[in-house]
């Protein structure tokens, strides 16, 4: 495996920030680290980036043990949540900063910087200072600054969380396409499941410093294996130890009869609260196709109950 992380552990006082985390990642793939705040996502990233000393564990990148290597010697680059651009430098100097410490001629450096500026769509902004840029542009500078040094591993620490929703989706796609174009191996930290599912080959779910599960997005969503995933991922109904997703409840003339007791209109979707024959409440979600059910209406639905493994 290109990246192998085994048993990494970090304690602050008596509290475990991360505990015994192991995973691996193939070259050119993107892994999302998903978890609530305080779950240890950023700690994992900082450990791989070389910003904190681990109490225990080993990190091997491309066959080299980098566990005890300082950050400046690791071929790993981080895009920080706050972008961490150098405020006193232009866009060009920000992007070129890491090249100062690598042996390239001036010509080569300029060439590389220019190519990177074009890649992230910042042409014409070279001489601006960070404070003159929009949030999205800053994000692009941060990404370019990390990519230009051609790291073996790119770490992205909630890079989209400071942007508004539409821009977030645009940049998500850009990051994804740049990652594939450069065939870069990357770890993407987020608390947003949709973001994690849409961008990654593999998702790792964390809770309170412990690894819950590593799997493909589809498996992670469709086959729940543990109580934490059940609570954290997607929305579901529970009954007698079984679960069913909101969206898996569908219209079916052969199904069981329920009564609509509440309607939540969310724009593209509508969530209906239904009462079944045992007087239990169940939620169902439907896309807004122009037809909206009314409170009190009796409908027939098929409910597929699944068992968490």
């Amino acid at each position: 495996m290109f990246l192998e992380v085994s048993n990494i552990t970090k304690k602050y006082g008596d509290r475990f920030a991360i505990k015994d985390i192991s995973f691996s990642l193939e070259k050119g793939k993107l892994l999302s680290v998903l978890g609530a705040s305080g779950s240890g996502k950023t700690t994992i990233l900082r450990a791989i980036g070389g910003f904190i000393n681990l109490n225990l564990g080993k990190i091997i990148l491309d066959g080299e043990d980098i566990t005890n290597l300082p950050a400046e010697k690791r071929q790993v680059a981080t895009v920080f949540q706050s972008y961490a651009l150098f405020p006193h430098m232009s866009v060009k100097d920000n992007i070129g900063y890491g090249l100062k410490f690598r042996n390239f001629s001036k010509l080569e450096k300029n060439e590389m910087i220019k190519e990177m500026i074009d890649t992230v769509g910042l042409s014409g902004q070279e001489h601006k200072r960070p404070h003159e840029l929009s949030g999205g542009e800053r994000q692009r500078v941060a990404l370019a600054r990390s990519l230009v040094i051609k790291p073996k591993l790119l770490l992205l620490d909630e890079p989209l969380s400071n942007l508004d929703k539409n821009l977030r989706e645009v940049l998500r796609e850009e990051i994804s396409s740049i990652q594939k174009q450069f065939e870069i191996t990357a770890i993407f930290v987020t608390h947003d499941q949709e973001e994690a599912f849409s961008i990654s080959d593999t998702v790792m779910l964390l809770n309170q410093g412990e690894l819950i599960r590593v799997d493909s997005p589809v498996e992670m969503y469709n086959n729940l294996e543990d109580n934490y995933s059940k609570d954290f991922i997607g929305n579901l109904n529970e009954k007698d130890g079984l679960y069913s997703r909101f969206e898996s409840i569908i219209d079916d003339a052969e199904g069981e009869e329920v009564e609509v007791v509440d309607v939540k209109f969310l724009g593209e979707r509508i969530i209906y609260t239904l009462k079944d024959k045992d007087n239990d409440l169940i939620n169902m979600v439907e896309l807004n196709n122009g037809f909206i059910r009314k409170v009190g209406e009796k409908i027939k639905v098929k409910i597929e109950w699944k068992e968490a493994k």
């Binding site: 950050a71 680059a77 981080t78 920080f80 949540q81 150098f86 410490f101 600054r145 990390s146 040094i149």
Partner: protein
Amino acid sequence: MDRIKRDNFLENIIYFMVVLSVTLFILYPFLAVFREAFFKDGSFNFEGFSVFFARDSKLIKNSLMTGVYTVVLTSILSISIAVYVYFKGKKVEKIVFAFLMLTMISPPFVTSLSYIEMFGKRGFITHDIFGLTLNTYGMVGIILMQSIGSVSLNTILILSGLRRIDPNIILSAKDLGASTGEIIWSILIPILKKTIAVSAVLTFVRSLSDFSTPAIIGGSFSTLATEAYLNMIAYGNLNYASVINVVLFVPAFIAYLFYRKSIKEELDSTGEAHMEVELGDKGILFNIITFISIFTLFWIGIQYGGILFSAFSRKQAGVPYFTVSNFIEAKPYLSQTLIRSLIYSFFSAGVGSVIGLLIGHFLVIRKKKLMGAVDFVSMMPYIIPGSFFGIGYILAFRSEPIHLTGTAAIVVLNMLFRQLPFSSKLGVEITSAIPKSETSAIRDLGGTGFNIFLDSVFPNAKDNLAMAFANSFSQSMTTIGSIIFLVYPSQKVLTLVMFDAIQSGKYNVGSALAIVIILITASMNLLVRFLLKRRRV
């Protein structure tokens, strides 16, 4: 009168008093110096300046040179210590700050006294240990002592600048391959440029206006400030003293305008909270910084150790022995002045802190029209030389309508308004930090501006106010710059009798008095901290 009318009336009276007091006790004395320097018998007169430029213009060179060298040395020392502390973390910070606090809470010329005792002609280190008889009086000594005096405040300013930098910026540079040295050189120092410039400006002005250090260890080397002091105290030449102070004022005022501009920009920028990261502390540059920091602290240690040593020792045939007789001899100096100093400092610090908060209230929250000007004027004593401020008081209050010469009031008022910049800066910071929604809520629920002050500003400010009080108290206990011109024998305070003792060659007694002053200011600071800590638990 209904409640709202009554409150508004009261608030307006207080507002009026704040404006009036700042005008009367800062602006008016300030203008009085100009009047004295430029006018004689009611007509414009440039005579004093012609005499000055013909006779004493070399003083400008002396002052500027001393100032520039002090700025360079202080900047190197304080940047080093601040960066060192920043990389080393909380534990080191505590130890370093204990040292730095010493220079903040002791009279400004204490180190000069120690310098004579340790490195002078009969200095303990130069003469007694190394057998040298050096003439260490002159510019070099002044630069060294002024730098030691300024290094603490500058370190604190620069360190708070460092703390405002998003730590991820440092991690990011490291991540891209920068070593610790490169991070310091290509990231931290350029980002801190403005903070460093501000602290350099403050140091420069302090150096320009400091007369006590050159008076004690300058020997034949004289500066503008010392000459102004001598003209006032020794020759009683108010006109010429005013002329010199006006000359001193020019660079100081330019510096002040620069300072105002920079501070504004600084207040506008906010950084993330400091977080625990391992920054890494290696490399040649960091080693140099470590060396400079430790050397400086060691040096401060020696100087203050010297005070302690000289307070508890006397020499017999060149050999020092332990004694408490210095303290016994210091008793007559203390008997009158101790209580008086405490009362003066208490009063000026207490009232000053409240006025500072009121300025913040009227400026930031109430946005009163005149407050921009009041804020500008209230900050002036920060940068105008102490002698300027002292002479201004003599000139402004020597005759009707406000005749205060020789009273205790003139001394206390002078202390109070000289410390006002610290309090009003803090007042503005405190009130700026109060969320606008909080004050809006009070008004929305029927509260008046008066209620905003009592129910929002004041409770929010309590802890900071206590710190401001402790700080002003220390400043008042250790000030000499301006009150030396105002005090009659019946109002002498501790710093002045200590200055007298040193000037008349009683170095050991001076040291004993220094110890007393340091003990008082240190106790006050520790007491306030202790009370705040206990309240928080």
